[in-house]
C-alpha cells in the first residue's frame, strides 16, 4: 500500500503537509462547531426533505393518482429518480474499489466522500421503488419468505426482483466497505476527542483499533478483499437496473445495448456528482490542498471518457434501430429525437455530450467554476437521460390509440426535491460528523519526507 507515489505526477497533496497537519486539517471540520453556512445549508436541505416527506405521505394516503401518470405512461418521475440516484451511487464504488485495485493513488482524497455519496444516493434511490408501488405497505411481498400461501413465492423471472437483490447487495457491500475504510480514522477521532458521547461513539465504532501492525495487516487484507468484492457490483447494479427496460418488449427499451450504456452513464453521472460535491466541499471546508486541481483534472478526464461512451451509446441506439428494420423501433427513436418530448432529448444531448467537450481544454479543467458548471449540466443531463428513456418510450408505443402525453404534478416535483433534500441533508451530516477525507490513506500518499522527489 505504501508504495512510492507516482513520480510522473506532481505531488497529490499540496502544501507540504506532514501527517500531523493532515490529521489537524481534516479533523478540524468534525471537531469545531458547525459554521453558519452549514446551518444555512442544512436548514434549506432539511426543508426540502420535509417537503418531500409531506408529498410522499400525501401520495401514500391518497393514491398514485396524485402523480401525473396515466394508463400508458406507468412510470415517469419515480423510476427516473430511482435510476438517476442509483447512477449517482456508482461513483463511490468505482473510485473506492476499482481505482483502488488499479492503484490510482489520487483516489485517496475523494474516496471517502464518494463512498458516502454512494450510500446516501442508494438510500435516495431505494425510496422510489418503494413509494412507486400502489400498495407500498405490502412491499415485503417482494422478498422471498416462507408463507402460508401454498407457498407462493416471488417471481424470480421479474427484473424487479433482480433489482431488489442487486440494490440491496450493492448497498450492503458499499456500506461495509465505507465503514471498514473509516475504522482507522474513527480511531483517530476517538483519540483526539474529549470525553463525551462523541468519543464513546467513535470508540465503539472503531472496534478497538490500536494501530498495531497486526491491526493494519488485517485491515489491509479486508479492505482489499472488499474492494475485490465490490468491483463486480459496479457492473452488476446498473446492468441489472437496465434489465428492467432491456427485457421488456417496449420499443426504445428492448435492446441489448442497455447494460453497458447504463453502466457508462452511471459512472458518468456519479463522477459528475462527486465532482460537484467535492468542489463545494473543497471551497467551503478549505480542503484545497487535499483536493487539488490535479484531482479535479483526473476526474474531468474520466468525465470525458465516460461521456464519450454515453455519446457512443446514444448514437448506437439510433444505428441499431435503423438497422433493426423494425418500424416500431425506428419510430421510437425518431419520436425520441423529434417527437413531443424532443426538448428533453436535446437537453440530454446538450448536457451530456456537448457540455463535457469543453473539458478537453486544460484551461477549462483548471477553472473550477467551469468544471462546476459542467458537472451541474451533466447532473441535469443524466436525469433527463433516464426521463427520456422511460417516458418517450412509453408514451408512444405500439398502438397509436394509446398514445398519450405526460406531465408531472406538483406532488412528483416535490418528491424529487425531497429526494435531493434527503441527499443533501445526509451529506451535510456526513461532513459534520465524519472526516470527509480518508486521513489514513492520504497520509500514505503525502510527499512529505520524500526528499528525493
Amino acid at each position: 500500500m505504501a508504495s512510492m507515489p507516482s513520480t510522473i505526477h506532481s505531488p497529490l497533496i499540496l502544501g507540504d503537509k506532514n501527517p500531523s497537519d493532515v490529521t489537524n486539517d481534516i479533523c478540524a471540520s468534525v471537531e469545531r462547531g458547525p459554521s453558519l453556512s452549514w446551518w444555512v445549508a442544512i436548514s434549506i436541505s432539511s426543508s426540502m426533505l420535509l417537503l418531500g416527506l409531506i408529498s410522499v405521505a400525501y401520495q401514500i394516503m391518497t393514491g398514485i393518482g396524485t402523480w401525473g401518470l396515466n394508463n400508458t405512461v406507468g412510470w415517469a418521475f419515480d423510476i427516473t429518480n430511482f435510476v438517476f440516484w442509483v447512477g449517482i451511487g456508482h461513483a463511490g464504488t468505482l473510485i473506492s474499489a476499482v481505482l483502488f485495485l488499479f492503484r490510482q493513488k489520487w483516489r485517496t482524497s475523494v474516496n471517502r466522500a464518494a463512498e458516502a455519496m454512494t450510500i446516501i444516493a442508494v438510500m435516495c434511490a431505494g425510496i422510489f421503488p418503494l413509494i412507486h408501488m400502489g400498495r407500498p405497505w405490502l412491499a415485503h411481498w417482494m422478498a422471498p419468505y416462507p408463507n402460508t400461501r401454498g407457498p407462493l413465492w416471488i417471481n424470480f423471472r421479474s427484473p424487479l426482483v433482480w433489482d431488489f437483490f442487486a440494490i440491496s447487495t450493492y448497498f450492503t457491500i458499499s456500506f461495509v466497505f465505507w465503514y471498514v475504510g473509516m475504522i482507522p480514522d474513527l480511531a483517530t477521532l476517538r483519540d483526539r476527542l474529549k470525553a463525551g458521547w462523541r468519543k464513546t461513539t467513535a470508540g465503539f465504532l472503531s472496534l478497538g483499533w490500536n494501530g498495531s501492525f497486526r491491526t493494519w495487516l488485517h485491515y489491509e487484507t479486508v479492505y482489499l478483499l472488499l474492494a475485490g468484492l465490490a468491483t463486480p457490483l459496479v457492473l452488476s447494479v446498473h446492468t441489472i437496473v437496465s434489465w428492467d427496460f432491456a427485457t421488456s418488449v417496449i420499443p426504445g427499451w428492448h435492446t441489448t445495448l442497455l447494460p453497458p450504456y447504463f453502466v457508462a452513464g452511471a459512472i458518468f453521472s456519479g463522477m459528475s456528482m462527486v465532482l460537484t460535491l467535492m468542489l463545494i466541499a473543497r471551497k467551503t471546508m478549505r480542503l484545497e490542498d487535499y483536493i487539488t486541481e490535479q484531482h479535479v483534472g483526473a476526474m474531468c478526464k474520466m468525465l470525458i471518457a465516460t461521456g464519450g461512451m454515453v455519446a457512443m451509446a446514444y448514437l448506437t441506439e439510433f444505428v441499431t434501430a435503423l438497422y433493426s428494420n423494425s418500424p416500431y423501433e425506428q419510430f421510437a427513436f425518431m419520436n425520441r429525437a423529434f417527437g413531443p418530448f424532443s426538448w428533453a432529448y436535446w437537453i440530454m444531448v446538450g448536457c451530456n455530450i456537448l457540455s463535457p467537450q469543453i473539458l478537453w481544454f486544460k484551461r477549462a479543467r483548471s477553472n473550477m467554476l467551469v468544471v462546476f458548471v459542467v458537472t451541474i449540466f451533466i447532473n441535469i443531463g443524466m436525469w433527463f437521460e433516464r426521463f427520456v428513456i422511460i417516458v418517450t418510450s412509453l408514451h408512444r408505443d405500439y398502438l397509436p390509440s394509446n398514445w398519450t402525453g405526460y406531465s408531472p404534478t406538483w406532488i412528483e416535483i416535490a418528491t424529487l426535491v425531497g429526494s435531493f433534500g434527503l441527499f443533501l441533508t445526509l451529506f451535510l451530516m456526513f461532513c459534520r460528523f465524519i472526516p470527509v477525507i480518508a486521513m489514513a490513506e492520504v497520509k500514505g500518499v503525502l510527499s512529505h519526507g520524500r526528499k528525493n522527489q
Partner: protein, 1016 residues
C-alpha cells in the same frame, strides 16, 4: 360486510389450547358483539385478564393477533326459504327492456333477490340477443338514490291511501263537471298502457291523451298516413336487404331500434359465410355517425342538400319505373355520379333493398316511402301490416296542450314520466303554464323539473319491478315482468290509472297486462320467453297513394355557405332520460371518444376558417333569434359536412348535478361538472317546430367564439392509423397494421387479407424455445369481426356492469386513466376523398407469451392452464410494470380508491367479482367468473363445456354478434372456425406475444380500385 367498527379480539389462545370449553354466556365476548357502536365491551375485559396471566410471548402474539382483528360476520338466513332462490345461485328472468321504446328482449340476472345484470335475449325475434349500452346500463336505474321512495303530496311524504282517496275524489268531481283532463305521456308502445289510458279517459267527458317525444317518429307516421293511409312506423328488415341506403338515419346507433337493426344489418355482412350476398350500404349524412362509419359509400351532405339528393334518386328510379315524379333533382350536384350508381344498384336489387330516412320532415319521408314503393320494398323489407309502432303521435300535440294550459282551460294534468320542462324548446313556458292547471298529478319516479310542479307525485316502478308489454312489430309482443320485489313504496302507473278510473277497480299491473292478451298468448310461455307471437294481423292497405308524392321543396333552410344546426341523440345519452346514469356519461362516444360532455362539432375546414379549436367555448345562436343562445365547447370533427354544427341532445340535464362528487378528490383534481354545474349543456332549447314536426336539423345557425375554453375529456386523441409524417424515416411504413382491411372484391379473389409491411420479416420464424405449454384441456380464445363491429359500445358498458368497473369522472379520463377493461379504438382513414372510420374493440389479448407475466415481481399476474392471463388483485402490489410492458396497454391501474359510498348503487355490483382497491392492477379476465361457473356446472354433470355455453359479457351484449368466444382446442367451435378464416389476424403478431384474441379483417363492399389499403 359486517360492521368494521366492532373490532373485537375474537381469538383466544387459551380457548384454543383448552379445546372446546364452552364459556359461560355472560363471560363470552360474542354475547356482547356490539350491534350498535358503543355496545357492551365486557368480553374484552375478561380476555385481557386472561392475556395478563400469560407470559411476555403471549403478549407479543396478542399484539400480532391484534393486527388481524377479524370483523364478526353474520349469516342471516331466510325465515321461510323461497322455493326458487338458492343463495349464491343466479336466477334469470326474461323481460323486455324499458330503457327506450325499441322493446329489445332481455334476460335479467337476479342474484340473491336483486337484479344485477341485464343481457340480450338470444331467442328474441327482434333484438336477436344483443342489447345496447343504454339498456345494459339501465339496471343501475333501479338503485338510483334519487328515486322517490313513497308518494308525495305537495312535496311532502304521503301514503297511497291518502293520495288515492284525494285524487279519486277530485277526478270524480271532474267526471261530473265535465272538466278538462289531459294526460301527457311519452310514446306509448305498450298495448296495455294504451288500453288502460283509454279506459281511464273514457269516463271523462272532456279528456285527451297527448303523446310526445323529443325524438319522435311523427314524420314517418305522418308520411305513411299520407302514402298508405296508416299512421305507422314500418318494421324494417335490414337482414333481407342487399342494398341499404340511409339518409340521415343513424340506424346502427340511435335511430328507432338500433339493436334490432344492427342485428339485421350485420346478417348481410358476414364475409366468411357468404361473400356473394354481402350487402351494399350507402349513407348520406351531415355529421359522422356510427352508421356512416360502417357504410361502403358515405357521402357527407348538408341538411339542405338532403331534398335535392333524394329528389334526384327518386327521379332516377321513377324514370326506370315509369312513374311520374315532379322533379329531377339537381344533376349538377357533385354527388350526382354517386346517386346514379346507387340508383342502378337499387333498381337491380328491387324487393331486396331498403331506403331509410331519419328526417323529421313529412315531405321528405313521403319521398322515401315513394322510393321504397318503386323498389317494391313494401312487404319485402318494410312491413306496415305488422308495424314496429303505430300511433297518432303528433309533435304539435304538446304545443296545443301548452296553449290550453296557458289559457287556463285545463283542470287536471296527469304527467306520465315525461319532462317537457327539460326536453322541449319552450320548457320554461311549460313550467309557467303547468302551474295554471287545477290539478297536476305526476307519476315520475323522481323529482324533476316537471314533477316538482305536481300536487301529487305517485312514483312509478322501475321497469324491472313492474309488469308490462311492448309491441314489437312483425306480429310479436314483448312482455315485461318484475324481476325483483319493488325496492320502494312505488306503484306501477298502470295500477295507479286503474285505481283512479271510474270503476275504481284495484287491479294489479299483472292482471291488467294479462287482461289485455287474454287467450291470445300462452301466458306462462310468454312470460318464460319474454315475448309471444300474436295472431292479430292488421289489415294492410296495399295501395300506395301516388297522389301524396311531391318532390321535396325545403328539407333544410340554409343554403350557400351558411351553417346548419344538427341536433342529434348521442349513442349513450339519447334523449337524456338516463342522464342520472354515470356509466352512460363515462361511455366514450363511439365517434369522438369524448366523455361527460356534449359539444358543438364543427368540420375541420370550417373550424379553420372560424379560427376555432377543440375546447374553445362557442356561442351557438339560431339565426332567427327565436331561442336564447347556448354556449358549449367546440370539437373539431373530421368527415363532417363543412356547413354543419352538430350538438348532442340529452345533456345539461338537471339530474346530472348529482355528479359533483364523481371522481377522486385530491389537490389537482378537477370537477366532473362544467361551469354550469351540470354535465354538458341542454341543446333542447334549439329544437324548432316547422310544418307540424319538431325539427332536429336544418335550422340556420351562427356560431361565435367566446374567449373561454373548456377542455373536453377524451379517451383517445386525434389519430388516424398512421404515425406522424414528421417522424417517418424514408421507406418506413406509416400505417400500422392494427386494423387490417380489404375490399370485398379483393377478398373474394384472394380469400385472405392483403399482406402488410410489418409481417414480412416475422411471420414464419418460429420460436427459439420449444412449445412447452400445450393447453391440453381448453384453450380459450376470442375472435372479433371488425366488419360487423359498429363501435356502438354496448360491450363497453356490459363489461363495466359485469365486472364492477368503477366510474372515474371527467378529470381522470382527461388524464387518460379511464378504467374500462374493454375500450374501442377509433381510427380514421382517408380514401378516395372520403374519410372512413374504423373501430376496434381492444381488451386484454391473453397472450400465450404474455409480457406482463414475466415482469410481475409477486406473481400477481400469471398464466392459466387454459391460456388465460390471470390477474390476482389481492396479490398485486402495484408496480405497474406489467402495464408498461403490455404492447396493447389494456391493463388498468386503480390510481385512487374509487367511490363506492352510494350503498344503494352498490347493490348493482356483481357479487362474483372482487371490488378492487386502490393501488392494484386490473384488466379483462375474459369473464373468468363465467368460465368458472360453467366449468363447475360441467364438472358436476361430468360433461365437457359445450361451445357457446360460456358467453363473455361483451359477446353477450353485441348486437352484431361480432364477438365470438370459445375453445380454440375444439376444432368444431365457432371461434376455431373463425380463426381458420382468411380474414383472421392477431394484433402485433410480429412481436410473437401470441395473443388469444384475434380479429377478422374489415371488409367493405368496394371495388378494388377503391382499395383503402393504399400501402405497398
Amino acid at each position: 360486510m359486517s360492521d368494521n367498527s366492532s373490532k373485537e379480539y375474537w381469538k383466544s389462545l387459551e380457548r384454543r389450547s383448552d379445546g372446546v370449553r364452552p364459556l359461560p354466556v355472560a363471560g363470552d365476548e360474542f354475547a356482547s358483539v356490539p350491534d350498535a357502536p358503543g355496545g357492551e365491551r365486557k368480553g374484552v375485559e375478561l380476555r385481557r385478564r386472561d392475556f395478563l396471566a400469560a407470559a411476555g410471548f403471549v403478549l407479543g402474539s396478542a399484539t400480532l393477533s391484534g393486527c388481524a382483528r377479524a370483523p364478526v360476520e353474520k349469516a342471516i338466513p331466510y325465515l321461510v326459504a323461497p322455493e326458487t332462490i338458492v343463495p349464491g345461485r343466479a336466477t334469470y328472468y326474461a323481460s323486455t327492456c324499458g330503457a327506450c321504446s325499441a322493446g329489445c328482449g332481455m334476460v335479467v340476472k337476479n342474484r340473491d333477490g336483486r337484479a344485477i345484470k341485464v343481457e340480450g335475449n338470444a331467442e328474441h325475434p327482434v333484438s336477436h340477443g344483443g342489447l345496447c349500452a343504454v339498456g345494459q346500463a339501465s339496471v343501475l336505474g333501479l338503485y338510483d338514490s334519487h328515486r322517490l321512495e313513497h308518494p308525495l303530496q305537495d312535496g311532502q311524504e304521503a301514503t297511497w291511501e291518502v293520495v288515492d282517496s284525494e285524487v279519486t275524489h277530485r277526478f270524480d268531481a271532474m267526471r261530473k263537471s265535465g272538466a278538462a283532463v289531459r294526460l301527457l305521456t311519452g310514446t306509448v308502445t305498450s298495448p296495455t298502457k294504451r288500453r288502460v289510458i283509454q279506459a281511464f279517459l273514457k269516463s271523462f267527458p272532456n279528456a285527451k291523451h297527448i303523446e310526445y317525444a323529443m325524438l319522435s317518429t311523427s314524420a314517418i307516421c305522418g308520411a305513411h298516413r299520407k302514402t298508405h293511409g296508416q299512421s305507422v312506423v314500418p318494421r324494417y328488415s335490414f337482414d333481407k336487404a342487399a342494398v341499404i341506403v340511409g339518409f340521415d338515419a343513424d340506424f346502427l346507433g340511435t335511430w328507432l331500434s338500433p339493436v334490432a337493426f344492427t342485428a339485421g344489418w350485420s346478417k348481410g355482412r358476414r364475409a366468411d359465410v357468404d361473400t356473394k350476398n354481402f350487402s351494399y350500404h350507402a349513407q348520406f349524412e351531415s355529421r359522422l355517425t356510427v352508421t356512416g362509419g360502417k357504410a361502403d359509400r358515405r357521402v357527407a351532405i348538408a341538411p339542405a342538400q338532403l331534398g335535392s339528393v333524394m329528389n334526384r334518386l327518386a327521379s332516377l328510379l321513377a324514370t326506370r319505373a315509369g312513374v311520374a315524379f315532379g322533379a329531377t333533382g339537381d344533376d349538377t350536384d357533385v354527388h350526382a355520379p354517386v346517386i346514379e350508381g346507387l340508383a342502378a344498384r337499387l333498381w337491380h336489387a328491387r324487393g331486396k333493398s331498403l331506403v331509410v330516412c331519419g328526417s323529421q320532415d313529412v315531405a321528405t319521408q313521403i319521398v322515401c316511402n315513394f322510393i321504397n314503393h318503386m323498389l317494391g320494398n313494401y312487404g319485402a323489407t318494410l312491413d306496415i301490416a305488422r308495424p314496429f309502432a303505430e300511433g297518432e303521435a303528433s309533435d304539435t300535440g304538446a304545443q296545443e296542450l301548452l296553449r290550453e294550459l296557458q289559457s287556463g282551460s285545463v283542470d287536471a294534468l296527469i304527467i306520465d314520466n315525461v319532462d317537457p320542462v327539460y326536453d322541449l324548446p319552450n320548457g320554461a313556458e311549460f313550467e309557467a303554464a303547468i302551474k295554471q292547471a287545477g290539478l297536476v298529478v305526476s307519476v315520475a319516479d323522481r323529482i324533476n323539473d316537471t314533477s316538482k310542479l305536481a300536487t301529487y307525485v305517485c312514483p312509478d316502478h322501475h321497469y324491472l319491478e313492474s309488469w308490462g308489454d311492448v309491441t314489437l312489430g312483425g306480429g310479436f309482443v314483448g312482455f315485461q315482468q318484475p324481476v325483483m320485489r319493488a325496492l320502494f313504496d312505488t306503484r306501477s302507473v298502470l295500477e295507479s290509472l286503474s285505481i283512479w278510473s271510474a270503476s275504481g277497480s284495484h287491479k294489479s299491473d299483472q292482471a291488467l297486462v294479462r287482461e289485455t292478451w287474454g287467450d291470445q298468448v300462452a301466458w306462462n310461455m310468454a312470460i318464460h320467453d319474454g315475448f309471444a307471437r300474436i295472431s292479430e294481423l292488421r289489415v294492410a292497405s296495399a295501395t300506395f297513394r301516388n297522389a301524396a308524392v311531391k318532390p321535396i321543396v325545403d328539407a333544410g333552410r340554409p343554403s350557400g355557405q351558411e351553417l346548419a344546426l344538427v341536433l342529434y341523440p348521442k349513442v349513450a345519452m339519447r334523449d337524456g332520460r338516463h342522464a342520472s346514469n354515470p356509466w352512460l356519461h363515462e361511455m366514450p362516444d363511439p365517434i369522438t371518444k369524448v366523455v361527460w360532455d356534449n359539444y358543438a362539432s364543427i368540420a375541420e375546414d370550417t373550424a379553420g376558417k372560424l379560427g376555432i379549436e377543440t375546447g374553445d367555448v362557442v356561442r351557438v345562436t339560431l339565426a332567427d333569434g327565436k331561442s336564447p343562445a347556448i354556449e358549449l365547447p367546440a370539437l373539431v370533427q373530421p368527415a363532417q359536412h363543412d356547413q354543419v354544427v352538430a350538438i348532442a341532445l340529452g345533456y345539461g340535464h338537471p339530474e346530472s348535478a348529482r355528479f359533483k362528487q364523481v371522481g377522486p378528490a385530491w389537490l389537482e383534481g378537477k370537477p366532473t361538472l362544467g361551469d354550469n354545474g351540470l354535465v354538458g349543456t341542454n341543446a333542447a332549447k334549439l329544437l324548432t317546430y316547422r310544418d307540424g314536426t319538431l325539427r332536429l336539423s336544418g335550422e340556420h345557425v351562427s356560431i361565435a367564439k367566446t374567449n373561454r375554453t373548456h377542455s373536453l375529456a377524451c379517451t383517445q386523441d386525434y389519430h388516424n392509423i398512421e404515425i406522424p409524417a414528421s417522424l417517418v424515416l424514408p421507406g418506413m411504413d406509416r400505417r400500422r397494421p392494427m386494423i387490417q382491411e380489404t375490399t370485398l372484391a379483393a377478398y373474394e379473389r384472394d380469400g385472405t387479407l392483403p399482406s402488410h409491411g410489418y409481417d414480412a420479416h416475422h411471420k414464419d420464424l418460429g420460436d427459439l424455445w420449444p412449445d412447452d405449454h400445450k393447453y391440453e384441456g381448453y384453450h380459450w380464445g376470442m375472435a372479433i369481426d371488425l366488419t360487423t363491429c359498429t363501435g356502438c359500445s354496448a360491450c363497453v358498458v356490459s363489461c363495466q356492469v359485469e365486472n364492477n368497473v368503477p366510474v372515474v369522472g371527467r378529470d381522470e379520463v382527461a388524464r387518460k386513466r379511464i378504467m374500462h377493461w374493454l375500450r374501442i379504438d377509433r381510427y380514421y382513414s382517408d380514401s378516395e376523398g372520403t374519410t372512413d372510420i374504423l373501430h376496434q374493440p381492444v381488451m386484454c389479448q391473453h397472450c400465450d407469451n404474455a409480457p406482463c407475466e414475466t415482469v410481475c415481481p409477486v406473481l400477481a399476474t400469471a398464466h392459466s392452464e387454459e391460456g388465460l392471463n390471470m390477474q390476482t388483485y389481492n396479490r398485486c402490489v402495484g408496480t405497474r410494470y406489467c402495464a408498461n410492458n403490455c404492447p396493447y396497454k389494456v391493463r388498468r391501474f386503480n390510481w385512487f380508491d374509487y367511490a363506492h359510498e352510494d350503498t344503494l348503487a352498490n347493490m348493482a355490483l356483481n357479487p362474483d367479482i372482487t371490488v378492487r382497491t386502490r393501488g392494484v392492477m386490473e384488466k379483462c379476465s375474459l369473464c373468468v367468473q363465467r368460465i368458472e361457473e360453467a366449468r363447475i356446472e360441467a364438472k358436476k354433470q361430468g360433461i365437457p363445456i359445450a361451445d357457446g355455453d360460456i358467453k363473455t359479457a361483451c359477446q353477450q351484449s353485441c348486437p352484431a354478434g361480432s364477438i365470438v368466444f370459445g375453445d380454440m382446442n375444439d376444432p368444431k367451435s365457432a371461434v376455431s372456425k373463425l380463426i381458420k378464416s382468411g380474414r383472421h389476424y392477431r394484433m402485433l403478431e410480429e412481436t410473437n406475444v401470441k395473443p388469444s384474441v384475434g380479429y377478422l379483417g374489415l371488409v367493405r363492399n368496394r371495388d378494388e380500385n377503391e382499395d383503402p389499403t393504399h400501402h405497398g
